[in-house]
């Protein structure tokens, strides 16, 4: 089966982010979205450790240990960017100021519940970071993930079996097979990878799907 590549997924997310948006990109796959935001579009990247206007990684040798992102990687600050403390940073999420966040996920439920912080394994050390704050804080929560687990099970599920990060918080899911909206009427397929029929996607996903109306998206 044909699948969207990582770069294609990231480019597809980037298409949905308009000029002027304040955006937090989660650790992992979502960070790739930054590479696909058009240069001519002014978009403000937020990092929860206290910066707005985050720029790309610095050139080798110019790393500054005091200038890092949430993944603790060295970054740069764009001209016009700003630093602030942690309580202000999370007020930007919780207070509804952040337009988008893009997160990875283990599972998303048909009603938009998100599980992305813990597999529930007994011996795993739990670590949540800013995931729960982002999940409920951004105006629109976008999830990027593989459609299926390595074992072939759908990661879009009727009810999450992993511990929840947030309840009914996801707005749109971008997978390697499809773009799907979470709506009050259920999951609506916006587009699928070339050659994948709606019925086949529905079979793979295993929870009720419908086609999004032409005006959606």
């Amino acid at each position: 089966m044909k699948r969207f590549t990582r770069d294609q997924m990231a480019a597809r997310v980037a298409r949905d982010i308009p000029e002027g948006a304040y955006v937090n990109l989660g650790i992992g796959l979502p960070t790739m979205v930054a590479n696909h935001l058009p240069k001519e579009r002014e978009i403000f990247l937020h990092s929860e450790n206290g910066l707005l206007g985050m720029g790309p990684a610095p050139a080798a040798g110019s790393e500054d240990p005091d200038l890092i992102n949430a993944g603790k990687q060295p970054v740069t600050l764009l001209t016009g960017g700003a630093y602030f403390h942690h309580a202000d940073s999370f007020a930007m999420m919780r207070g509804g100021h952040l337009d988008f966040c893009v997160l990875g996920a283990f599972q998303v439920s048909a009603s938009g519940d998100l599980a992305n912080w813990h597999t529930g394994a007994i011996n795993a050390i739990p670590a949540v970071g800013g995931a729960m704050d982002l999940a409920i804080g951004a105006k629109r929560v976008l999830v990027m993930m593989d459609h299926q687990t390595k074992g072939g099970e759908s990661k879009i599920v009727a009810h999450c079996t992993y511990p929840l990060t947030g309840v009914k918080c996801v707005n749109r899911i971008y997978t390697d097979l499809a773009v799907i909206d979470v709506t009050p009427e259920g999951l609506a397929v916006v587009e699928t990878v070339d050659g994948l029929a709606f019925d086949e996607l529905a079979r793979i996903t295993g929870v009720p799907l419908r086609r999004a109306s032409a005006t959606a998206g």
Binding site: E48, G50, P65, H85, I125, A127, V128, G130, D133
Partner: protein, 232 residues
């Protein structure tokens, strides 16, 4: 004359006693007050409760404090990192208590303590395992969780410059938890790269006003360009 500067890190932390709750600034190693932590290890206080975003990196700073078995409990949002093996081992051995707090709730609980707020309702973690057993409320149709402030006996933080009244400015993302921890502790101790003369800090850009800071220590260390490496 008021002079909050202290001659050495050891003198600054000398009265941190067994059982104290100590906030430690920093996000990973950015803003981590390593020299104050080293002084706290030399000080010998045990049975500490530590508040930090993480649970230490490699064998230095907070990880070294954990390794010396001085910490009874840690309150943090993200203990598990690629080089958090000191914490990992203590946790698996059942030798340290962990209170896991979503990062924004951690920040707001610290801020609330410094601002004199008795408790607050937050939407973060509603409906998740981290809200289990906590009071909840529907406000305008949305679910919220009641969270209480986190106050401390001491805060150890790192800033870029300070003056003898305790006014502080920070450097880039090393600011992170510094300002809110300073306000939430009975005694906030700041290590700064440079103590400057009163009046040299522009009053318009002071981030932490001196009322929140009790002690200042100058530690002029060259910035390391890479995170501390694990001991071989």
């Amino acid at each position: 004359m008021i002079d909050k500067t202290v001659a050495s890190p050891s003198a600054a932390v000398a009265d941190i006693a067994d059982g104290a709750t100590v906030m430690i600034g920093g996000f990973g190693t950015a803003g981590m007050p390593s020299e104050l932590i080293d002084a706290l290890i030399r000080n010998g206080a045990r049975d500490l409760t530590i508040v930090n975003n993480n649970a230490g990196n490699a064998d230095v700073g907070l990880a070294a404090l954990l390794k010396a078995k001085r910490v009874r409990k840690i309150i943090c949002s993200f203990p598990r990192q690629t080089d958090s093996y000191v914490f990992d081992a203590l946790y698996h051995a059942g030798e340290i208590e962990l209170e896991l707090v979503p990062q924004g709730n951690l920040a707001e609980r610290i801020r609330a303590a410094g601002a004199g707020i008795g408790a607050f309702f937050t939407p973060t973690a509603y409906g998740t395992p981290l809200a289990e057993g906590k009071e909840t409320r529907l406000i305008n149709g949305r679910g919220y969780v009641l969270e209480y402030p986190i106050a401390a006996d001491f805060a150890l933080i790192k800033a870029e410059k300070g003056d003898r009244w305790g006014n502080l400015v920070y450097r880039k993302t090393a600011r992170n938890f510094g300002p809110i921890m300073a306000s939430a502790a009975k005694c906030a101790i700041a290590q700064v790269r440079k103590v400057v003369a009163l009046g040299e800090l522009d009053p318009e850009v002071i981030v932490t006003p001196g009322i929140f800071v009790q002690r200042i220590v100058e530690i002029d260390v060259a910035d390391q360009l890479s995170p501390p490496q694990a001991a071989a």
